[in-house]
Symmetry: C4
Subunit: 274 residues, 4 copies
């Protein structure tokens, strides 16, 4: 039947584009990564004035070639799955569209081409190479540990933000507009630069009182930096312990490959723990 | 009886203003947070010269609206509890008063309005949103761990301060006034900037000898930063272990909700541990 | 007998000056700390040109008062112990002498007074306040943990130094003298500033190649900073476990107060462990 | 037989040059380290213009002396082993050759002498001093722990690099060429400087929007720095536990000296674990 063979063709294409455990899928993934890398390097080099002057024309052609390639890839991604809109609205789908649009927009709007930098977002696909290698266990382990830390880290970041707003406001009072702390948002920016120990030095305290407050901010930042580290270290240790405790194979049917948060065997449904 | 109904009215108001587990209390808390946020953003934007020029009049009106709102809130807080002075002298009460005063002071003293930045302190109420969400366990856990670290962290900060005073004094001798190290407090400020790895670059060593001393300071700071991290990581792990060991429900009366440092059931008084 | 009463007098003085668990000893320690603090603040303020102009004469008098006080204290320390040379050559004794000499030297040599900054070293006595408070357990715990880390941290620092020498040398080749990397020691200084993430910005790469090498240095520094933290965290956890395992009271004579590294009871000599 | 005595001579030389547990080997190692240190310090000082002007001639002579010494050492290393090419292509062999070549190249090419800085790579031999001291256990322990972290750290560095490419590209759009973000590679350099908290300040955001994006980058960097620390801390704890569990002597033949990852006795082949 025609519709059946069509599905079969769809299934094969899906295997190549979305999977990476077949030789064809692997080759597609590697090829795509090389194309993404090259296209980003072209955008990068094109932004350098002296290089643009020499090779601008060539880069422009290359960008259209890559846009064509990625458009074909995008269409293939859509036709190879049964519910294409699921992909369109998925994070990766949106990124793929964003990296395509600037080229087409540049036909109608001058300057839209500069949005090509968003193509850098496609670099996130680089993490697929872990699927190709042996890194899967490690990346799973890390993401699992970080997911656990997320809530605590967000509490931490909110605390830091509150502190910087308060300290930035105080600093705005202490140092006046003349000394670079021209308004409160600027002072908060300074507080963030200081508490994160980045310290550009574009704004820095001038008055003795300001230097005193700044010293307090720095010492607070010095002690505070330890908090997220403590949180993540703890959650990594926790994730490691859980991984250890998790039986690799089901005690009932002895099949393997269970997720790190699985409580029941996904094959026979019996509990993974005694 | 009149006095009774009065107390009842007080009790209801107290439930709305001080608690957040009733729908009315939740709504009040969220409304208050929005008002605080907006008022702080108004103060922030008003400090930007170009924006002040345009919307200064509007901001001035808004600031009075917020002052009126917060004054009403402050009075309601006072009347809804039996011992209002307890609130007045509590940290949150003092912050609330401090955030009100500048507006009223500005009537009598020109420039007092700039003290409005202290309204940023009210941002500390932001941590009430954790009461609304699921973050309570995490925030309890973190504060518990940090409370344990407090003593060790203060020993650490005293050590760092002593080191910076000594190193700053030495640097004042090595680099002379001509090179920016104009006096000892300034040199200590430099030592703090360096040891915390902030490194503004507003003062930096010029002579070879000064650069050598600075390198030593940096390497010391590099090794020292590990200490608070080690302390906090350890105390987080400790707090986690204690939490784990703590029985959630009393083994005698099986009621729950015990504090993390509780040794005996707060309902029946029997030991929580075997 | 005279000699006996003399020893008795010596013993009492020793109790006041060297010990801090008697009321007189506590008072002496607190008084000494206040004197040290004040004298250092006088030296600090005297280094500020504008303050020196106003109060220079007063500060000069105060410095002589403190020098007299500390000289008396130094002599008392010598006479109250039987082997005074032990104290003279101990670290604290050398520091005490160093903080006295500049005042006397300034009579003969102009400018020797600037060496008064070394009086800051006396701040190290500040750690005696822990003897007064409840901090003793924590400071013992921390020094014990850090002593264990010492070897590993020194390996780490040697590695960092080697890396900075190599990277600094390479950077000297990449960026030329014109770009601030005027010689190899200067380039090594830059590498230390960069790898410790201080980043003054007094020297920073200009050429694209230099910026690339600098980026590599930064990322190395970013990953490397984790090593001392890991080491110290581990040794703190280890020290905590050992402390836990250590029986608080001797299993034989049940007396308490054993050091964290004690293996045998200091009162009855039997093993503290089964 | 002549060839046999030759091998014997080779064997003795090998013991002196490559080993360090004999007195002669120790003396050779220490002498070599002193020579390397001195030669590097000569190269360093020679790069300082003012010192070069005075002692340039002397340094030039010294450099030839060291080159001669190291050439002899290199030849001895070759003749004392049976498969000299193995050494030539080993990392240490390549470093030794690289540190010799510049002097000889400088005869033919003017300026080649500046490549002498690569002699700094020989400093890596400094880690041999650990073989002389008691540090061997610690360095083995650390390298073992770090080897375990390698994969996770490389995932982390790839993530950081991807983030900096994306954030740098966005910043290039937000801040224009006029504000120092002259092209995308430059913007990525800025993102690395910022996320690693180095913060030179040679490029820093000027527009409010740019400062906002920069603040986000800093806070991300602040939270992200915790990840490698957590990883390494965990792997150090793991390595410590494994070391503890590892029996020092084989339970069958009781011989010692097994590697930390050994599962079976390397002498009798029986399992090291029950």
């Amino acid at each position: 039947m025609k519709s059946d063979s069509n599905t079969d063709w769809q299934f094969k294409l899906h295997g190549i584009i979305y999977e990476s455990n077949t030789p064809a899928g692997k080759a597609f993934d590697i090829g795509l990564l090389i194309a993404i890398f090259t296209s980003i390097i072209v955008v990068m080099l094109d932004s350098v004035v002296s290089i643009h002057a020499k090779y601008g024309q060539m880069f422009s052609t290359l960008e259209w070639v890559f846009t064509a390639l990625f458009t074909v890839e995008y269409i293939l991604r859509l036709v190879s799955i049964r519910k294409p809109f699921r992909f369109v609205w998925s994070p990766l789908g949106i990124i793929d569209l964003i990296s395509l649009l600037p080229s087409y927009l540049s036909i109608f709007f001058i300057g839209a081409q500069s949005l090509l930098v968003f193509r850098a977002l496609r670099l996130l696909r680089v993490f697929r190479i872990f699927k190709l290698g042996q890194f899967l266990t490690e990346i799973n382990f890390l993401t699992h540990a970080l997911k656990n830390s997320l809530r605590k880290i967000s509490i931490f970041l909110l605390t830091v933000l509150t502190i910087t707003v308060i300290l930035g406001s105080i600093m705005y009072l202490v140092e006046k507009k003349e000394n670079g702390f021209s308004n409160i948002p600027e002072s908060i920016y300074w507080a963030i630069v200081t508490i994160t120990t980045v310290g550009y030095g574009d704004i820095s305290p001038i008055t003795p009182m300001g230097k005193f407050v700044a010293s307090v901010v720095m010492l607070i930042g010095y002690a505070i930096i330890a908090v997220p580290t403590g949180i993540i270290t703890h959650d990594i240790a926790l994730a490691a312990r859980q991984k250890k405790e998790l039986p690799e194979s089901c005690p009932s049917c002895s099949r393997e490959g269970h997720d790190s948060d699985a409580l029941f065997c996904k094959f026979c449904g019996s509990s993974l723990y005694r």
